[in-house]
């Protein structure tokens, strides 16, 4: 029997997802036994031309990580879609935009101005900006164009499966890989995780139904390690986040930041968390309630940390 042909690609991402695929440890040997890696720029020497030359649907499965932010990302997403039978949005960036997606709070113009002119460490009197094409004696050089809108993989091409996480936990990665290797795939377009419910379901911290007088940022308090972090005023995202990771962050005293995305059936993760917060404020005085929520710094950036491009509005109005 032919080996399963596997491709891995990174678009706008930090590289963590590629490392996460290796986190499966010795199981990687099992992958090597049943699969042949035909494309993996971060680890092996392949050229884009190698993929271009392949006949359509030559690749059995493509694990695509990273958001779609540049013309190169878009080009590769479309090419790999044509060449792959199964397209998997692997990791939060490809699935829901993640940290690169926060760029959607700003216009491309304001981002470039900030980076190439305004930051305190920038010295750019000539206001030199990167160009997509530059003429050199050796010939024209080209770099990909940065888009105004960061998109997810599914907003660019048809996606068959989603693997959540920033990066996906080892057991989640293995759940997806095992399904691919054995050909026992779940329903098309589903999110592959051990849970479709909120993270709190698998978190061992004790909830007492306490309400909150003040919200804290993680550096401001040392939480009781046995008790629910949200009830201690930390913005723990578990109530609005899909489980399946094992709740390691809250159980280590660090509030969940929501990287597994929305729970099944929820469209807008950010506003889902906002709704939950409204129920835990300990006050019956409208003025005090407003003061308590005013203590939350950068609510939109916090609530939509991983999911801005898949939220209802997808981006902020450009200013």
């Amino acid at each position: 029997m032919d080996k399963l042909k596997l491709a891995l690609y990174w678009a706008s991402s930090c590289g963590g997802c590629d490392i996460a695929t290796l986190a499966i440890g010795e199981k990687i040997l099992e992958v090597a036994e049943t699969a042949e890696i035909v494309f993996w720029p971060v680890a092996m020497d392949f050229k884009y031309k190698d993929v271009e030359r392949m006949p359509d649907k030559r690749i059995d499965a493509c694990l695509f990580n990273g958001a779609i932010r540049t013309s190169e990302d878009e080009h590769m997403a479309k090419m790999l879609r044509t060449k792959s039978k199964i397209m998997v949005a692997y990791g939060s960036c490809a699935y829901e935009g993640c940290i690169p997606g926060l760029a959607n709070f700003f216009s491309l113009k304001s981002i470039l101005e900030r980076v190439y002119e305004e930051t305190p460490s920038t010295d750019n009197p000539g206001k030199v900006y990167p160009q997509t094409r530059v003429q050199m004696p050796e010939g024209d050089l080209e770099i990909p164009e940065l888009k105004n809108m960061v998109k997810t993989l599914a907003q660019t091409v048809d996606v068959d499966y989603f693997v959540p996480g920033c990066p996906p936990e080892e057991k989640t990665t293995w759940l997806a890989l095992e399904a691919l290797l054995n050909g026992k795939l779940p329903e098309r377009r589903s999110v592959i995780s051990h849970s479709s419910k909120a993270l709190c379901e698998e978190c061992s911290l004790v909830r007492e139904g306490r309400k909150v007088k003040k919200f804290y940022r993680p550096y401001e308090v040392i939480p009781d390690p046995e008790k629910c972090l949200l009830e201690q005023g930390l913005l723990c995202y578990g109530v609005a986040t899909r489980g399946g990771c094992g709740a390691m962050c809250p159980q280590a005293g660090m509030p969940c930041t929501g990287c597994y995305g929305a729970v099944e059936g929820v469209i807008d993760q950010g506003v889902h968390f906002l709704t939950a917060l409204g129920s835990i404020i300990d006050s019956t005085d409208p003025v005090e309630i407003k003061q308590i929520v005013d203590g939350i710094v950068d609510p939109a950036g916090t609530f939509y940390r991983y999911s801005l491009p898949v939220s209802l509005f997808r981006r902020a109005k450009s200013v």
Partner: protein, 137 residues
């Protein structure tokens, strides 16, 4: 040029505000026809997602009306709404959306005239702001 007629979705709680709106009707108080009423059991039932979806689907403004603080039929439903609306307004401004497009206020069952005033005020506010347009490119 025709005058811009905003579409305003009004979420009304069953116990106070809807009765207040009803009283405005039975008292034949005239108010702007721009409001589209949606009755819920409590203003605490208004998930901020409903508000975003209303804007997303074509509303220019959203009003949430509930019982006065301390008078909620479910004791604390409207307090939850206060927190959510305050947070939502902060989030909206970070999205570049005018926070005046969303307003939370209180109307009791006996305040038909107050209901009419709030709807009229809101209509004028949104008329000044203009139609709600999402930036999507």
């Amino acid at each position: 040029m025709t005058r811009f007629e905003p579409k305003i979705v009004v979420f009304l709680c069953n116990w106070c505000s809807y009765a207040g709106a009803d009283l405005a009707g039975t008292s034949r108080i005239q108010y702007a026809p721009n409001a589209r009423a949606i009755r819920l059991m409590c203003s605490g039932r208004v998930e901020p997602y409903f508000i975003l979806e209303a804007l997303h689907k074509g509303a220019d403004g959203v009003l949430v009306l509930g019982c006065h603080p301390g008078e909620c039929h479910y004791l604390e439903g409207n307090y939850r709404t206060v927190g959510r609306m305050a947070l939502l307004k902060k989030v909206l401004s970070q999205f570049g959306i005018e926070k005046e497009r969303v307003r939370l206020d209180w109307v009791s069952a006996s305040e038909g005239a107050r209901f009419a005033t709030i709807v009229n005020e809101m209509t004028e506010t949104i008329r000044t702001l203009g139609p709600f347009e999402e930036k999507d490119a």
